[in-house]
């Protein structure tokens, strides 16, 4: 049931292929290219720090933003009405969207990782920890997107949120700068960033970001399940 839904979602993007190419590949890789070209006087650690920030920023802007918009579209009353009689449950449709946009953002993540591997060397990477860090980051940000999108249930309102939210999450996280400001830890993006950086040997492995990331993932997953799994989906105060 999932594969036709993913296929439908991917085919549904045909019209926007230029837009997607620019936003998912051209612009991010142009930024990555500039980072690398500006790396002459920097240490490999500095470059890896920036590129790891780039990976998380990609996840926030491309994955979280687009998924929020698409989920909010599914939760429009007219779309819910249509899906109420079609075989897949809404949770499956949302899961298909989660997987589709995970696939779409993967090139940015993988190419970023290749750059990190080049500068850091394979020996400094803790592969199991890195896999876990990415898994947590995808689930945390994905479930946050689903929770917000399902709650808003209107793509126009969602667009307003997704224009501002990724910027706030990126600007107030140490993605592209070094900072030990305590206030940045209020940002849910700071913790998966720390997890990824500890897995690639850029900072010490501390249990705190892993714990916070895990707790946030559980909270966002619970919120997403509550919003998506509700039986009477239009049962909201008018």
């Amino acid at each position: 049931m999932i594969s036709p839904l993913i296929e439908m979602e991917l085919k549904g993007m045909r019209l926007y292929k230029t837009f997607l190419f620019v936003n998912l590949l051209l612009m991010p890789f142009a930024l990555l290219f500039m980072m690398i070209m500006n790396s002459g006087s920097r240490t490999p650690e500095d470059i890896s720090y920036l590129v790891s920030g780039f990976i998380v920023v990609s996840l926030v802007s491309s994955f979280l933003g687009t998924l929020t918009n698409r989920v909010s579209n599914i939760f429009e009353p007219s779309v819910l009405e249509l899906y109420s009689t079609l075989p897949p449950r809404i949770s499956k449709v949302v899961l298909a969207q989660f997987l589709t946009y995970s696939i779409l953002v993967l090139p940015q993540v993988l190419i970023g990782l290749v750059v990190i591997l080049y500068y850091q060397g394979v020996s400094r990477i803790n592969a199991p920890l890195l896999t876990l860090a990415f898994l947590l980051a995808f689930i945390e940000l994905g479930t946050l997107a689903v929770a917000i999108g399902a709650r808003i249930g209107n793509p126009y309102k969602a667009m307003a949120v997704t224009t501002i939210l990724p910027w706030l999450l990126v600007v107030f996280s140490p993605a592209y700068y070094h900072s030990s400001l305590q206030v940045l830890y209020l940002n849910p993006v700071t913790h998966p960033l720390s997890c990824i950086r500890s897995a690639i040997g850029l900072q010490e492995v501390s249990p705190i970001p892993w714990l916070v990331s895990g707790v946030l993932t559980v909270i966002f997953t619970a919120l997403a399940i509550r919003n998506v799994g509700s039986r009477y989906m239009l049962e909201k105060p008018f």
Binding site: M1, P4, L5, E7, M8, K11, G12, M13, R14, L15, Y16, P77, S78, V79, L80, E81, L82, S84, T85, L86, P87, P88, R231, Y232, M233, L234, E235, P237, F238
Partner: protein, 302 residues
Amino acid sequence: MNVIEIDNLTKVYPDGTKANDGISINVKRKEIVGLIGPNGAGKTTLIRQLLGLLKPTEGSIRVMGEDIMGNPDVIKRTLAYVPQYPLSFPSLRIKEVLEYVFRMRHGNAPREEMEKKISEALNPVGLEGASQFFGYQLSGGMEKSLLLAMALVQELPVLVLDEPTSMVDIVTKHRLWEAIRNSNREGILLASHDMNEVKALCDRVYLLVHGKIVASGTPADIVSMIKMPTEVRLIPQREIPSRILPKEHRKRGNLYELAFDTLEKALETVETITKSVGVSCLEIESPSFENLVINLIGRDGE
């Protein structure tokens, strides 16, 4: 067993609005039942409860004999729905949309069978020549036709239609009516504003106003439920004797304008005039089904 059985359904929203008030509706086997009412009458609330998207405050809904609250899966298993608003799939071809719906419903059925079923769904709605069109190329009427084809290709026993031909041109409208009439479902529930549609398709009609059923029966029953004034304009061949004329009449040159309480009285008088003086020109403004419904709704509102 009724195909759809709605019993004493009441829906009160959290803000206290009573959108449905003790509604009882049933759709028998092979029946097309219409639900008519003005905006805000509670049709959408009723349909959303039938689709399992809103929880009834009181009452029950049974589809094909199964209670949807105890067994919500029955909705997905038995019911196909055509929404009121044309949903757009801009990047998908018509055929692709139907393929996905078919595959969701029937899994990996053989390709030939899928092609056959899709063709059978496209032909009656007149989209057979447009199967390769992208969603963004479709007119409003084609989008509505596609939604009906999506419902038909699933081959489910129950069809629920919410204004299936709104925003559709008259030719397409008649084609869609034909497709609905020939769809051979176990039962069809049709919510509509279009009185001609209801009259053309439905075996029985429920009139919903302010969340309550105010009238029900065949379209003919509804017509007979209320007496509507009828106006007659005629040019007689000779002068009409005043004893034949009704109290309310006006003469403008050769033209007589006569007003009656009922259609029957109007016809009797016209017959008498024809026999006694002859008629060279005649126009009768008889109550339309639409006027009757408006009259019923107005009367209930008062």
